[in-house]
């Protein structure tokens, strides 16, 4: 009996597939759907399934090992605790990391450590899905031009909600289902094919991507008159090591100062 099964039995895990195919086709497809949901077709997905904690749990449920999935998801979540998407940029893709790494870990008796290690490059790869979809949606969004001209609100609804789904389904369900079905060897060889070098570079790219989102937000916010506050916020962190929350607190105080004093002047004038 494999050591993994002994361990998982505590969580009333399903039977051990050791050596054989690790999951059914349906399970693999369902896992793909989890990733689809996590890719936020609706906002609630973004708040929930997108997080490895939730994605992992769902995968666990699908594979009949919910508690195990929760634990694996929670463990992967720790890597993505501070993850955020600013201005449409994503440094990495927690949903893919959470979904696929958990699937591989549970179904293929991967060691937690190995699964964790896998989750990092997977998260990197997921960025492609996000970028692809945001690019493709440029085309979709222009399909709303006609209903707009025709003042057809129903049509706008369709473009906004329905049209983006097929491609997204394709981009998410297909690769994840395949990867889950063919298992860690498949994933590993895909990653090996890329090599640590490529994955290292993806990590570096993930490190600078938030800059794009920040820049997009800055574009609409940076006027000469407030630009110095951008630098002050930066300096407070870089030179004094303040936390973001601290910067926010000071910035709010500064804004209040401006608002209360300037409005007084304006009223007087």
């Amino acid at each position: 009996m494999c050591r993994w099964c002994q361990r998982t039995r505590k969580w009333k895990s399903t039977k051990c597939y050791r050596g054989g195919r690790t999951m059914t086709v349906l399970q693999a497809i369902l896992i793909g759907v989890v990733y689809y949901l996590g890719s936020a077709p609706w906002a609630i997905g973004y708040l929930t399934v997108c997080k490895p904690l939730v994605a992992g749990t769902l995968v666990g449920c699908i594979l009949g090992a919910p508690a195990e999935g929760a634990i694996m998801g929670a463990t992967i979540q720790l890597i993505y605790l501070g993850w955020m998407s600013v201005g449409g940029s994503q440094p990495s893709d927690p949903a893919l990391a959470g979904t696929l790494a958990t699937a591989l870990a549970i179904a293929s008796h991967l060691d937690t450590g190995v699964a964790l290690t896998l989750s990092v490059p997977l998260g990197m790869l997921g960025t492609f899905v996000w970028v692809g979809r945001n690019t493709f949606n440029v085309v979709i969004s222009h399909m709303a031009d006609k209903p707009t001209r025709e003042a057809n609100t129903r049509g706008i609804w369709r473009v906004n909600v329905l049209y983006p789904q097929p491609v997204l389904l394709l981009m998410t369900v297909l690769p994840v289902a395949l990867a889950a079905y063919f298992g860690p060897e498949f994933v590993q060889s895909a990653l090996d094919f890329l090599g640590t070098r490529v994955l290292g570079i993806l990590t570096l790219i993930g490190g600078v991507l938030p800059a794009v989102g920040i820049a997009l937000n800055l574009k609409v916010i940076m006027k000469k008159s407030v630009a110095p506050y951008f630098f002050m916020g930066f300096f407070l962190v870089s030179y004094l090591g303040m936390t973001m929350m601290g910067v926010a607190a000071f910035a709010i105080a500064a804004a209040a100062l401006y608002l209360f004093n300037d409005m007084q002047k304006a009223e007087v004038a």
Binding site: A43, G82, V131, I140, N160, I205
Partner: protein, 279 residues
């Protein structure tokens, strides 16, 4: 800001209308997110029923729908305050035409940036991590399993729903109260400026906290090796490279480059520098 007693002037937009707009935004805001217009379709879709109510004529409605499909992007749960304000302004415009379409666009454009900064910081950088850390602890320390995960989902959805419902209503009230002041006296300018202070401040902090880049260049070898990063750049200004990268992106954005192109440039740059063993 004195709260006008409602009912004095008959509102066309009802509480239910607003709630329905909130609902569409809460669920569909990012459905069609893209690198050209970001959330504009989500925004338009969310308030489309209100616009239809306000503008009976097909022409007016079409014009209004088009107006809201210009580039728009903000954090969804706090930034929704903009939706409230916009609706109030549209209502006023529909009533007596005293508000121009440009004014509405100006307010949206003025506030979306600051509120993105503020919202991302408060929600993404602070609230989600706390809720997640809490639930992770429930799972890993207390073996709560799926229950711990359910707790997270309930909490986060409830918190964001409450927050965004509050803010869409707050924005609507603000817009109704302030709509006359907005037009004269520069109140909205000052609010945009104040929001800009906070927004800029936190974006600066975000840059230093979330963008990461450092050079691996060293001079010499062994214990005595001089690291360009630690011994020079960090002496001048810690996090200098993240700032530089962000400013470069900002400059590209200002030059009209789209997000995809900039990401491409970044990617190429990172690959090149990495192959040259510079980063």
């Amino acid at each position: 800001m004195a709260k006008e007693k409602t009912g004095v002037v008959q509102s066309i937009v009802t509480k239910k209308d607003l709630l329905y707009a909130w609902f569409k935004w809460f669920i569909f805001s990012h459905c069609c997110i893209n690198y050209e217009r970001f959330e504009s379709l989500g925004f338009t879709n969310a308030i489309s029923h209100i616009l239809a109510k306000l503008y009976p004529s097909k022409e007016d409605l079409s014009e209004a729908l088009e107006r809201h499909q210009e580039f728009f992007n903000t954090e969804p749960y706090i930034g929704i305050v903009i939706m409230g304000i916009s609706v109030a302004m549209e209502e006023q415009r529909a009533k007596d035409g005293s508000v121009s379409g440009e004014a509405i666009t100006a307010v949206k454009t003025g506030l979306m940036g600051p509120l993105a900064g503020i919202g991302d910081t408060l929600n993404q950088a602070i609230i989600y991590p706390i809720l997640l850390a809490f639930s992770v602890a429930l799972v890993l320390e207390n073996n709560l399993g799926v229950a711990g995960v359910v707790i997270y989902c309930v909490l986060v959805v409830a918190a964001m729903a409450a927050q965004s419902i509050y803010f869409v209503n707050y924005g609507y009230r603000l817009g109704k109260d302030a709509v006359s002041k907005i037009l004269k006296g520069g109140l909205m300018d000052r609010i945009v400026h104040a929001a800009g202070i906070v927004g800029c401040g936190v974006l600066g902090a975000l840059t230093a906290t979330y963008v990461s880049l450092s050079t691996t260049l060293t001079y010499g070898s062994g214990e005595q090796a001089i690291s360009l990063q630690a011994d020079f750049l960090d002496q001048l200004m810690p996090k200098m490279l993240p700032l530089a990268v962000t400013l470069v992106c900002f400059w590209l954005v200002k030059k009209g480059k789209g997000a995809i192109k900039i990401m491409g440039i970044l990617a190429v740059g990172v690959v090149a520098l990495s192959l040259l063993h510079i980063i």
